[in-house]
Symmetry: C2
Subunit: 174 residues, 2 copies
Amino acid sequence: MIEVLRLSHRLKRDVRVSTHCALSSRALGASKIYYSGQHDSSYEDSVNKIVSNWGGDFTIEYVKNPIELIKAKKRENYFVVHLTCYGLELNKEITKIRRNKKILVVVGSEKVPPEIYHLADINLSVTNQPHSEIAALSLFLHEYFQGKEMNLKFKNAKIIVKPAKIGKNVIKNL
Amino acid sequence: MIEVLRLSHRLKRDVRVSTHCALSSRALGASKIYYSGQHDSSYEDSVNKIVSNWGGDFTIEYVKNPIELIKAKKRENYFVVHLTCYGLELNKEITKIRRNKKILVVVGSEKVPPEIYHLADINLSVTNQPHSEIAALSLFLHEYFQGKEMNLKFKNAKIIVKPAKIGKNVIKNL
């Protein structure tokens, strides 16, 4: 059970990056994304539309206070992983992290409040280079699930893609 | 030697997603990104600034005609991997792909011209779900380099981050 918290979403400016975060989370085995910052119905709609067409039960929920969410999840025994290029190294820590069955992965934006670093059970880096929260999140999920997430089946899918050498092999149950 | 081609960049609308593509490519071991679409000096500047501060010799180059670039790379014996959710599965194909030492990874935008599917040596999917070219690119590089890309050292770095349990441990050689 992996859930994701995307911090500090901003209307318009962040819609594509936040959507990539949500869709990567869904495709790679997370079950839910929370987001804080500005409430954005069009962001939620675009994620919900993908779920409705492509299946599964991934959900998106806005939270006004991300610190409170993290505290609540900790009380429910979630292990909180904060992804940051300043943290400990993924490859050294992943085996230990994998022992936890309920995880909240926190991904930031430009400025992450210091409190998040202290509340997290681990501050984890996916390389110590600046790159992308989408890349960091995807590599974390891939390492957590050890590649098994590549073969997920999504229930009640109206659109199913079959791997094809060239072109598009799409089954539509609309 | 992995190079990346980002198709159909659009001014303003794509700057963040294209920047994430470039920085993830750099952080995860690619040596160059080409981009087509609209020429964008501010995109190039932001990537070059990261390289100047964080080291290494990653470069960015605009190409007017991406089809011609792909054909030229093929003549130079690059193996061309087109990432698309419609393609063959990463986990089944990666061992074969890894035998190639020179690779051009092509990542699309909304609409990829059919010619790209035919020119590519392989159309490759990182899951058959809609998600993110940044995620697909990162997982491809991670699988190609088998995790070794996590420990890259970047020459001539003015900024070096050391993994820290909490907070930021940054060495600056400015």
